[in-house]
Subunit: 385 residues, 2 copies
């Protein structure tokens, strides 16, 4: 096991009716800015439920945080929060709203250029406004971690940051609030959570038995539960299991003490920034090709993944790895998510464009062994055509 | 899944060399009381390493916290801490030292009778001194939770308490610090962690797939790694896996959203209080008999346990349950821990004595369904003779 330093102070209040707990969780005298997304939280009644729970507190609202939350948009929330002397933020939405709220929380007390939060990877944040979240979309895990990804539309930069100051104080997870999600978003969330786990699990062996078993448990749950949530949107048990799995997939726990990859994500970010593809769809495109190209470096963990997650027992090593990758691709496709660039109207022209963007961002040696050079990215995208 | 409220703010610094991090984790101006146990931390150099890491801070020491930490002993630490105006506590040891430190942390600022911490189950604690731990024995999970069990020798009361104020601020887990442990303590720790998981897993189904998979992962790791730590005491990977498993077994995570039993522990506490048996040995005695007596109420989870943990696929339901219980008993015996009262020189006389103690403590309806009445305890202990 690798040495590690793990801490996650976020409080999770889970279950039907949990939104009512806001009244106990937000300071009584708080001036609260509620951040939300494209309007679904307003339409399905979640925002009303939130306002009711917050009672007589001074409330301000900032709607319209978009998927791949935009720096340009979020600066508006920073300005509003400063003007109204807001002292508590509440994100009501999915990963984009929560990621955006983390940026706003760090930017409000910042004296310099807020973009430095991104260029410094989060180091520019020395303090942040406290905030909580009401999660409406299981996917990114942002509700229980201190990471965020922000896009600057003007320059097509999509960059991550993290800071110990931007853990949510609490997150409320009510599975019934996810019943009305469009199937496309649910499927995206399943793929996103799945790939989060794979990035922390299919690397090289590090004698970390608990982390491996936990990762496998999350993948097995996604395989079992994911399709159920699409077939029966109001199946509480399935929704609850999906929601908790997505949270556990990226809260630092399965990452503690093991190597991590994240090359699929970083390549995917560039595809989103350049062509506007949904985040999860970029992962579904890149991951199978990545596993194929990196099959030697990942051999032992791919074999373990084949056996423990997909129950593949027959065939020689190469065949078992092939089958595991094929099953992964079939799982994504079965959720309605296409796994090749051509399915999205993209062709070989993306290859050099993505490589150029990665190079511009200094990302020229990715993956758990820093072996994913531009040449490897080229092979991966070639395999994803 | 049941509704839940989960938060665990303890920071874990894991790995060889982690004790040196004390210098960054303990406030520079702190007046520190170091609590330790029977002398092994002094003999194997851990205490020296701790003193060196703490540098020029004002240090006070309180050694001699015994297994099943005694209220009477701990009052001495409370007195010393008050007299010397200590403002930070550091537990160096296993679960007993850490449990004792939690009591001391809560008792120091308490105006009334410290025993009320136990009679109130922890509610009497309104604030506590901050403290950290240096773990030397993987077993109880106390290093990453807010629970504690204290024994009052004068009255043979062994009672648990918990409070949100007594989470350790940090815990340092260096697997090399466990190499020199006596085999008896290592084996006890494996059984303790195993039974912690079973108490949170072998209950009744609650559609909590992640929690089940995590629990199974911890049990599988104990089965795989436990014996290795006894055969090769300096196998770092095995020690590291055992250490992290024991921590994860009782940090609240696998308990979130599922029913919990704990009857085996509460009966075991009375056996320790009355006859001085090691805590883990009482669990090894009670658990197999408990699973046998409660086989109907626990039927579905026992079958799942048989299949996923022990790989038992053949036989009818009753046979699979019998085999799973037998394998559990064999696992404990294989670690050198006997599983019957007679092995410890005890006979039928314990039955009514234990029941009388449970009744005196108001514990007359235990278990995940509150169905374990004195009659059921009688049947369990009869089966453990």
């Amino acid at each position: 096991m690798l040495n590690f330093d793990f801490q996650n102070p976020t409080r999770i209040v889970f279950g039907q009716g949990s939104i009512a707990k806001l009244d106990k969780l937000v300071p009584e005298a708080a001036r609260v800015l509620i951040l939300s997304g494209g309007g679904s939280a307003a339409r399905n009644g979640t925002l009303d439920e939130v306002r009711t729970a917050l009672g007589k507190r001074s409330l301000f609202e900032f709607a319209g945080v978009e998927p791949n939350p935009a720096y340009e948009t979020l600066l508006g929330a920073v300005e509003l929060a400063r003007r109204e002397q807001v002292d508590f933020l509440l994100a009501v939405g999915g990963g984009s709203v929560i990621d955006g709220t983390k940026f706003v929380a760090g930017a409000i007390p910042l004296a310099g250029d807020p973009w430095e939060i991104l260029t410094s990877g989060g180091k520019a944040i020395k303090e942040a406004l406290p905030f909580g979240t009401v999660l409406t979309l299981p996917a990114t895990g942002s509700e229980m971690n201190n990471g965020s990804v922000i896009t600057r539309k003007a320059t097509q930069d999509k960059l991550p940051f993290s800071s110990r100051h931007v853990f949510p104080q609490f997150s409320l997870l009510d599975p019934t609030r996810t019943f009305s999600l469009p199937a496309r978003q649910v499927a995206n969330g399943i793929v996103d959570a799945f790939v989060h786990v794979v990035e922390q699990y299919v690397t090289y062996p590090a004698d970390a038995k608990v982390q491996d078993r936990f990762a496998e448990g999350l993948l097995l749950t996604l395989i079992e539960t994911g399709p159920q949530t699409l077939i029966r949107p109001d199946d509480y048990a399935a929704r609850a299991n999906l929601m908790w799995t997505a949270t556990m997939a990226l809260n630092g726990l399965i990452a503690a003490g093991v190597p991590q990859d994240w090359a699929t994500h970083l390549i995917g970010h560039e595809l989103t920034a350049l062509y506007g593809l949904d985040h999860a769809r970029t992962l579904a495109i890149v991951l199978p090709a990545m596993l194929h190209v990196r099959r030697e470096a990942k051999r032992e963990k791919l074999l373990q993944y084949a056996e423990r997650v997909w129950g593949i027992a027959s065939g020689n090593e190469a065949e078992r790895i092939d089958t595991a990758i094929a099953r992964t691709r079939e799982f994504f496709e079965g959720l309605g998510i296409k796994t090749r660039l051509v399915d999205y109207g993209l062709g070989p022209e993306v290859i050099e464009a993505v490589i150029a963007r990665l190079q511009a961002h200094g990302m020229v040696a990715l993956g758990e062994r820093r072996e994913i050079t531009p040449e490897v990215v080229r092979a991966v995208l070639q395999g994803a055509l």
